[in-house]
Symmetry: C2
Subunit: 270 residues, 2 copies
């Protein structure tokens, strides 16, 4: 099958697939976009990755990820991430805000720190032609990964900044439960802030640690097509990244995982 | 130590403690309230439990639980739960709405069904002097346990009904991450709908299945005292139930688990 032109493979969906194989596998399958991660990009080499991807004709749809603002040196690290996104010609740098500092109970303080960090970084992102994409993560990650838990909250954090500098990520896995999700998508569209749209399904039981329990498209209870239609109705016409953290998928050869993902995408998202 | 007069032990915190031992243990410790569960009450016998508790001088602060409206026969089952709450002189029946029916992706439909069930049950609860207490559960339970995920949503569901018939549960474990939690508490107070206040702490990593990962008071990142002050500022002066699902706590003798809970309550909630 030829991939839908909006389909983008987030690298973490096939995380053990070496970059050159991933790139050639995507090209063979007719995929036009990939979402990359900083660690494997650094391992392969930033300039080398940029050339590999550019020469293949693929577009980098986003770079994961900046954020983790509770960590020491976070601003410098995020500036480097912005530079890397620019080098890869990725339009958006996904930001996962980070959780609470060790031993802290001050969630309001942690959220303020995100706002402060955005104020520092937004102009730098703008100078590099990169949009910061605030990703609200499911509330089960609020303490250890991301104090930004809803789309409304992400939009409030983005509001002080030009939309070209700061947008939001709409990820079905993180938002599907929220009674305000569709209102949030409509608002994000009105404000021109949908920087990325990512899809994964929700399945239970969740595994220990809950990080790698995301479901293959169609295996869970998320109204994936309704989300796609909602972002489209909000004016978003950009790539649809499939980002699934799932041990079973990671155990498959990259080419097979991509084929399964493409087939499920056609069946459940389009 | 003598327990604070507002302290109430939810039975599931010491779930393996036989009822007569739990009752005498609470009395010895100066505890004045217990939150009971339908299954152990049925096992011991409803009338026998009512007499045991009444004779001890303890008050039943709530009965857990009704709800699970996606199941067949749910309305009849909930009417029985209301009758049981009345027999135990429990002022509130905690409702956990239930998740999505097997194979369903229709979360809006499931939420509508909760509203319909409340309309059926609220007058019956009123006739029995029992307040239905809608409990929003953490969004990580939205698919399999409870499609009511935020306090705001619970209050919207309660709104069509008299406050004496339908209220909400404020549980720190489920709500701590919500940027709108404190606004929700203020609103719940204004609307006279705080039917129960329950405390547990949030710790990570979450265990497989995530149900039994609640933290002992003080072990996690929840601002427990801030929550207590918020419900008080909202006008709530009722019992404070400690409800912790935690394997380590369950492995302790009931008396020791209660002593630890009381000491942590004094340190972190009062």
């Amino acid at each position: 099958m030829t991939a839908d032109p909006r389909f983008s493979l987030n690298q973490w969906t096939t995380r053990h697939w070496p970059l050159p194989d991933l790139v050639s596998g995507c090209v063979s399958a007719g995929v036009r976009g990939v979402g990359l991660w900083r660690e494997p990009v650094a391992e392969y080499g930033l300039e080398r990755t940029a050339k590999l991807v550019r020469d293949s004709g693929l577009k980098v749809t986003s770079l994961c990820r900046g954020g983790f603002f509770q960590q020491e040196g976070a601003l410098a690290e995020n500036r480097r991430a912005i530079e890397e996104a620019a080098a890869l010609e990725a339009p958006a740098l996904v930001l996962v805000s980070g959780g609470l500092p060790d031993g802290s109970r001050d969630i309001d303080g942690a959220r303020s720190r995100v706002a402060d960090a955005l104020a520092e970084l937004a102009p730098y992102a703008g100078e590099h032609g990169v949009q910061l994409a605030i990703e609200p993560l499911h509330p089960m990650f609020a303490s250890d990964r991301c104090v930004v838990s809803t789309l409304g909250q992400a939009l409030d954090l983005a509001a002080p900044h030009p939309a070209g500098q700061v947008g939001v990520v709409v990820d079905t896995y993180h938002l599907w439960w929220d009674p305000a999700a569709y209102d949030g998508i409509a608002r994000a569209g009105r404000e021109g802030r949908i920087a990325a749209f990512q899809v994964a399904d929700w399945t239970t039981p969740l595994p220990e640690g809950v990080l790698v329990g995301r479901g293959m498209l169609g295996d869970g209870c998320v109204e994936l097509r309704r989300f796609r239609e909602a972002v489209e109705a909000a004016g978003y016409t950009g790539p649809i990244e499939v980002e699934i953290f799932n041990e079973e998928l990671w155990a498959m050869p990259g080419r097979d995982a991509l084929a399964l993902t493409l087939s499920r995408f056609a069946e459940h998202v389009l």
